[in-house]
């Protein structure tokens, strides 16, 4: 992990302490050019602090940050070739839409006619052409979001940093913006670094995801691998839902040593008439219909096991004794190196 050429962003041993507290505690990260990279984690996990360190709003207390192979951690934000889309959009309230978009071009002393033209193109791209003389206060949340995006990419940065940009939008609009963001990233061909606490959003959008907890990176991987092969207990439970077997439970129920996880959709009930015993047995505690599937919660000794079946599976009543089966290949061993959250 010392080679950093061809990387848009490289972090080495980055640390940010606030007094005794380490908000970011030794982060190494390589983000490739043109990648849609997400930093996923609960609030307070350090993901936004890492973003602010890359943007230059904050300085690391230790470690180095490189953009395109050049160290930048000593540079102010205005000397870094990255631009940010803020969670609250941070549009300038005293400027109208097109003046907001022109801001970065204006401070770069680009001629008025030229910058107006570039800003118009950016607004057209975000389908905001009709709104250029409005003030930010007169726009809806989704429109502000798109102005903020236009303002950031119009200056042609190598990297766009997005700090929970969809957090303030309602579900429908958020899903629509996710598609737009993905399209935009593909069309611009630049690196997006996307901060979110929404695992579904991260899985949908990203080429790769870094999962943060307690100021450290738990795992960096593709969405598919994060889901199918979580490295730690924290990742297993934060990304999707998981059945966790701690050391004791794994030893007793699975006959394995270590900590393990099995995804709910990889468990299945054995039909009672088959007479086979199954690898786990328990009592149905609850059963929920969630559209495309049924989720059944089963008490297996002191564990709560969640089983996901396609809709239309045979019904189970609360209190039924059930036998559960699974394939060995779906049992994942987790890392227990102290990085995983309790």
């Amino acid at each position: 992990m010392t080679e950093s050429s061809g990387m848009a962003i490289s972090l080495r041993g980055v640390e940010r302490r606030f007094g005794e507290v380490a908000a970011v505690d030794g982060v190494d990260l390589d983000i490739a050019e043109g990648e849609f990279f997400s930093m996923l984690g609960p609030s307070g996990s350090g993901k936004t602090t890492v973003l602010r360190l890359i943007a230059g709003f904050d300085e690391p207390t230790a470690g180095t940050i490189e953009l395109a192979g050049k160290p930048v951690h000593h540079l102010a934000s205005y000397d870094r070739d990255v631009n940010t889309v803020f969670q609250d959009y941070a549009l300038f309230p005293h400027l109208n839409v097109i003046e907001n978009v022109e801001f970065g071009l204006r401070v770069r002393r680009i001629a008025k006619a030229k910058r107006r033209q570039l800003a118009r193109e950016a607004l057209e791209r975000m389908r905001l052409g009709a709104l250029e003389t409005r003030r930010p206060g007169e726009l809806s949340g989704g429109q502000r979001q798109r102005v903020a995006l236009a303002r950031a990419f119009v200056v042609d940065p190598k990297v766009l940093l997005l700090d929970e940009p969809l957090g303030a939008l309602d579900k429908k609009l958020r899903e629509q913006m996710q598609i737009e963001l993905k399209d935009l990233q593909r069309n611009l061909g630049i690196t997006f670094v996307f901060v979110t606490h929404d695992q579904e959003e991260a899985l949908t959008l990203s080429d790769r995801i870094a999962v943060f907890n307690d100021g450290r990176i738990q795992q960096v991987d593709t969405p598919e691998n994060l889901y199918s092969a979580p490295a730690t207990e924290f990742v297993a439970s934060f990304v999707g839902t998981s059945n966790l077997f701690d050391e004791q439970a794994a030893h007793r129920l699975l006959g394995l040593s270590g900590t393990y996880t099995i995804r709910p959709e990889n468990l299945r009930f054995i039909a009672a008439e088959s007479g086979r015993p199954g690898r786990l047995s328990g009592t149905v505690r609850n059963r929920m219909f969630i559209g495309s599937s049924h989720r059944t919660i089963v008490d297996v000794e002191e564990l709560e096991i969640s089983v996901l079946e396609p809709a239309g599976s045979p019904n189970r009543e609360i209190g039924d004794a059930v036998a559960i089966d699974f394939n060995d290949a779906d049992v994942r061993k987790l890392r227990t190196d102290g990085l995983s959250a309790a």
Binding site: T84, G104, G137
Partner: protein, 267 residues
């Protein structure tokens, strides 16, 4: 909220009584400035413009007005610069004793004028060995004018998203450009409102002025105070008072409108 009719009636009467109590004396001053009787007999028997003509040819009164305008303008400018810088610093930086500094800046407006007056008088004459004059009045007024600017700007900074400055820098603006293009436009209405208030505070200040003006400097409030009990000057005092009422309505109306606009514009 629904208010029962009898309560509404009682409240209306109270409001009318309070407003009447505040404004009837003012109206009497305005009417008396046209009262033909020099002893201001009430009700007025006849009206005249004589006092208005005499007031505007009274060299002493006019020079006092000029002095007041100069003092208020200078004190406001000093306060605008220092108050803005202080609030920017206290908003942006964390440092030991920040709360204490905040209190020290705001305190002069709460201090009784007589204390400020005595203290500054001592400081100017004994400690600094200065002659009392226009300069000392301006500095004295600036001490409490700073507060209105500081409070206005500080409140505005609190409401302003900290991300706006980050966003400007992120888009390539250095610290000075960020102030010029983003921070200052956000503060403009707060500065104007605070400045008008500071101007008004200075313009009618009398106690601190008494202690710091020395003998050569006469501001308008001091001139009024000196002349209001002289029988032959009383009508002219009424004219000046009327004039000031009219003149002060303008900035207060402006400040209100700006304040209202800013409140909706910044949200």
């Amino acid at each position: 909220m629904r208010i029962p009719a009898p309560v509404k009636a009682v409240l209306s009467v109270i409001v009318c009584a309070v407003l009447a109590f505040v404004y009837i004396p003012l109206i009497i001053v305005v009417i008396n400035s046209f009262n033909a009787s020099q002893s201001l007999g009430w009700p007025p028997q006849s009206f005249t413009f004589e006092w208005w003509i005499r007031a505007f040819s009274d060299k002493v009164a006019l020079s006092a007005l000029g002095t007041s305008l100069v003092v208020a303008a200078c004190a406001t400018v000093i306060a605008l610069v220092l108050g803005t810088l202080a609030s920017l610093a206290l908003d942006r930086f964390e440092f030991f004793g920040k709360e204490g500094v905040n209190l020290l800046i705001v305190l002069p407006i709460a201090l009784p004028g007589i204390i400020t007056g005595i203290a500054l008088n001592n400081a100017f004459t004994t400690m600094l060995g200065m002659r009392l004059g226009l300069m000392t009045v301006i500095v004295a007024h600036a001490t409490f004018c700073i507060v209105t600017i500081y409070n206005n700007v500080f409140a505005r900074m609190r409401r302003m998203s900290g991300n706006l400055r980050d966003a400007a820098m992120d888009l390539g603006a250095d610290a000075f450009t960020t102030f010029r293009l983003v921070t200052f436009p956000q503060l403009r209405s707060a500065l104007l409102a605070g400045g008008l208030l500071a101007f008004g505070l200075s313009f009618d200040e009398i106690i601190v002025t008494q202690f710091t003006a020395g003998t050569g400097v006469q501001t308008l409030p001091i001139w009024i105070f000196d002349n209001m009990f002289r029988p032959n000057q009383a009508p002219i005092v009424n004219v000046i008072a009327t004039f000031l009422v009219i003149v002060s309505i303008i900035p207060i109306t402006l400040a209100n409108r700006i304040g209202g606009k800013a409140a909706t514009g910044v949200a």
